[in-house]
C-alpha cells in the first residue's frame, strides 16, 4: 500500500469515528434528558403522594405545598383553545394553498409562513401585550360584560394559536401534497365537481394526516413558554372561565427559576413540572409521528 492511500484510509477512519461519536451523542440525548429530569424530580415524588401533587391546587412552596392541578388545567385549557382557533384556519388555508392558489399567492405565502415560524416567542409576547391584551380588555371582555386587565386565558390562547399556525400549516401542506394526483383525476372524471373532489376524496383521504398534524400542534402549544408567560396573567388558581388568568406549566418553571434554590424541594418540584411537560410532549409527538408514518405508507 503506498503512503497516499494509507493517508486516505486514515482520514476515512478518523472521520467515520467522528461521525459515529456524534451520532451516538444525538441518540442518547433524549434518553439523557428523560433520565436527568427523572433523577431530579424523583426526590419530590418519593416525598409526596400522587394525589398531593396532581389533584391538589394548593401551591405554597414556602410551606411545602406543591399541588400542580391549577397549572395542569391551565395548560390543558390553553392548548385546547389555541388548537381550536388555529386548526380551522390552517385546514382551510392549506386546502386553498394546495388546490386553488396560483403561483402569485404561493410566492407571497411561502415567505409569510417562514417568517411567522421564525419569529421568536418573546416577540410574539410583545405583540400580544401591544395588541391582543388591549383587544381582550377593551373589546372582547366588555362584549361579554366582564371587566379585566386583559391578561387572561383567552389572551394566552389567541397568541399561542398564532404561534402554532405556521407549524401546523407546513405539515398540512405536506400532507395534502402527498395525496396522489390520480385519485383526484379519477374523481373528476367520474363527474364530480372540484369541490366535491376536495370534500369527499382529498379531505377524507387526508383525514388521519390532518389529525396527526393537529396532534403535533398540540404538543407544540403545550410547551410554549415565553409568549404565554407574558400575556396569560400567571395566577396560581384553577381558571374558571375564558377571562380568568391562567398559569401553565412552562410559565411556572420559567417564572420561579430564581428562587428555587433557596426553598427546599422547590427545584425538584419545578423539574417535575419539566418532566411532565417532556413526557406529554414526547407522547403526543410520538403518536402523531407514528400515525403520519403509517398514513404515508398506505398512500
Amino acid at each position: 500500500m503506498n503512503s497516499r492511500l494509507r493517508i486516505r484510509y486514515f482520514k476515512e477512519k478518523i472521520s467515520s469515528i467522528w461521525m459515529m461519536v456524534c451520532l451516538i451523542l444525538v441518540i442518547i440525548l433524549p434518553i439523557g434528558i428523560g433520565l436527568g429530569l427523572w433523577y431530579k424530580s424523583n426526590i419530590i415524588i418519593q416525598e409526596y403522594s400522587f394525589s398531593e401533587l396532581f389533584f391538589s391546587s394548593e401551591w405554597a412552596p414556602n410551606s411545602g405545598k406543591f399541588g400542580f392541578l391549577s397549572f395542569i388545567i391551565s395548560s390543558v385549557w390553553l392548548t385546547i383553545l389555541s388548537v381550536l382557533i388555529a386548526a380551522p384556519v390552517c385546514i382551510l388555508s392549506a386546502i386553498y394553498l394546495t388546490e386553488y392558489a396560483n403561483k402569485k399567492v404561493l410566492n407571497i405565502m411561502h415567505p409569510v409562513i417562514d417568517i411567522l415560524a421564525g419569529i421568536p416567542s418573546v416577540v410574539y409576547g410583545v405583540w400580544g401585550i401591544l395588541l391582543i391584551v388591549p383587544l381582550v380588555s377593551k373589546v372582547i371582555a366588555p362584549a361579554f360584560g366582564v371587566q379585566t386587565a386583559g391578561y387572561t386565558l383567552l389572551t394566552g390562547a389567541i397568541v399561542l394559536s398564532i404561534m402554532i399556525i405556521p407549524f401546523i400549516l407546513n405539515i398540512l401542506i405536506e400532507i395534502f401534497k402527498s395525496i396522489p394526483q390520480e385519485l383526484k383525476e379519477a374523481s373528476l372524471s367520474l363527474g364530480a365537481t372540484y369541490w366535491q373532489t376536495i370534500k369527499l376524496v382529498l379531505i377524507r383521504k387526508a383525514f388521519p394526516g390532518i389529525i396527526s398534524a393537529i396532534g403535533l400542534g398540540i404538543s407544540r402549544a403545550f410547551g410554549e413558554t415565553m409568549a404565554v408567560l407574558m400575556v396569560a396573567g400567571n395566577v396560581a388558581k384553577v381558571p374558571k372561565g375564558l377571562f380568568d388568568p391562567a398559569y401553565p406549566l412552562p410559565a411556572l418553571i420559567a417564572n420561579n427559576y430564581g428562587e428555587m434554590m433557596s426553598v427546599p424541594m422547590y427545584d425538584s418540584a419545578l423539574l417535575l413540572a419539566a418532566l411532565i411537560l417532556f413526557v406529554i410532549v414526547i407522547g403526543f409527538n410520538l403518536l402523531s409521528r407514528l400515525a403520519i408514518i403509517r398514513y404515508q405508507k398506505r398512500i
Binding site: S15, I27, I33, G36, I165, M226
Partner: protein, 286 residues
C-alpha cells in the same frame, strides 16, 4: 337544485379559505407593524451602542449593547458547535447508512421527537447538567444548552437537503474509487453547500430568539462577558425583564430591543431566501 346548493357551498368555503389565508398574512403584518410602530421611535444609537450605566433600571442612561453582544456570542458559538456535531450526523445518515434504511429512519424519528421538545425542558436539562458539572450560570453553560436545543434542528434540516442528492451522483463518486468520507465531504457537502448554509442560518435564528432555554443557564448581567465563565445577557431576556419594569423609560428599551431582535430575524430570513435561490442554479442535476 342539489347542484346549485353545491355551488353555493363551494363559494362559501372558497371564501372562507381565502379569508383564512388573508388572515395569516394580516397577522404577520400586524406583528411587524405594531412592533416597529412602538419600538422604532424609541430606538436610538445610544441604545444599541452602550451598556447599561448606573441607574439604568430606573430609567437613567445606558443601552442594550450587553444583550446584543451576549446574544451574538451565545448563538454564534452554539451554532458553530452544533454544526460541528450536526454535519457528521447528517452525512452519516445519508452516506453510510444507505443500506440500513430502517436504522436511518429510526434516527430521523428520534430527531423529530427531539425537535418537538419544548425549549424550557432543554433549559431545565441544561440546568441539571450545569449543576452536575459544578458550573455556575455562565456563557459556557448557556452555549451548551443552546447547542443541545438547536442540534436536532440543524441535523434534521441538513438531512432534508442531503437526501436530495441524486443516487447516481453518490454511486458515481464511489465507483471512481473515493472513500465514503471523501464522498461525504467532497461530493455531498459541495453539492448541498447552499442548502447547508440555509439550514445553519435557520438554527442560528432559533438560537438567538430563544429565551426559555437560556433562562436557567446563562444568567443575566449588565456587562459584556469577557470570558466563557461569566454570565451573559441575551436579547430575549432583556426584552422580558425590562418589559416587566414599572418605569416607562425602561419599557421603551424593551420595545426597542424587540425591534433589534425582529430585524435580526428578518435579515436572516432574507439572506436564507437569497442563498436558496442562488444555490439552485449551481446544483448538478440528473
Amino acid at each position: 337544485m342539489a347542484k346549485k346548493f353545491l355551488n353555493i357551498e363551494e363559494k362559501i368555503f372558497k371564501f372562507l379559505m381565502k379569508l383564512s389565508t388573508l388572515f395569516i398574512i394580516l397577522v404577520l403584518l400586524s406583528i411587524i407593524i405594531s412592533i416597529f410602530y412602538r419600538g422604532l421611535p424609541v430606538l436610538s444609537w445610544e441604545m444599541i451602542s452602550q451598556s447599561p450605566k448606573g441607574g439604568f433600571y430606573f430609567g437613567k442612561e445606558g443601552g442594550i449593547l450587553n444583550a446584543i453582544v451576549g446574544s451574538l456570542y451565545l448563538s454564534v458559538a452554539s451554532t458553530l458547535l452544533a454544526t460541528l456535531i450536526g454535519i457528521p450526523v447528517a452525512l452519516y445518515i445519508n452516506v453510510y447508512m444507505t443500506r440500513h434504511q430502517k436504522i436511518a429512519s429510526f434516527i430521523r424519528f428520534c430527531l423529530d421527537l427531539l425537535w418537538g421538545v419544548p425549549s424550557i425542558v432543554y433549559g431545565a436539562f441544561g440546568f441539571i447538567v450545569m449543576v452536575l458539572l459544578g458550573l455556575k450560570t455562565s456563557l459556557l453553560a448557556g452555549i451548551l444548552t443552546v447547542t443541545i436545543f438547536i442540534l436536532p434542528i440543524i441535523v434534521r434540516s441538513l438531512d432534508e437537503i442531503l437526501t436530495t442528492v441524486p443516487r447516481g451522483l453518490h454511486e458515481a463518486s464511489l465507483s471512481l474509487g473515493s472513500t465514503r468520507s471523501e464522498t461525504s465531504f467532497k461530493v455531498f457537502l459541495r453539492q448541498c453547500s447552499g442548502g447547508i448554509i440555509t439550514g445553519i442560518l435557520l438554527a442560528f435564528g432559533r438560537g438567538i430568539g430563544d429565551a426559555a432555554s437560556v433562562l436557567f443557564t446563562t444568567g443575566y448581567t449588565d456587562y459584556i462577558p469577557d470570558s466563557l465563565g461569566r454570565p451573559a445577557a441575551t436579547l430575549p431576556l432583556a426584552i422580558f425583564f425590562q418589559l416587566s419594569s414599572p418605569f416607562p423609560e425602561v419599557q421603551d428599551r424593551a420595545y426597542a430591543a424587540t425591534v433589534v431582535l425582529t430585524l435580526i430575524i428578518l435579515i436572516i430570513s432574507i439572506i436564507t431566501r437569497i442563498i436558496s435561490k442562488k444555490y439552485n442554479k449551481n446544483q448538478i442535476e440528473f
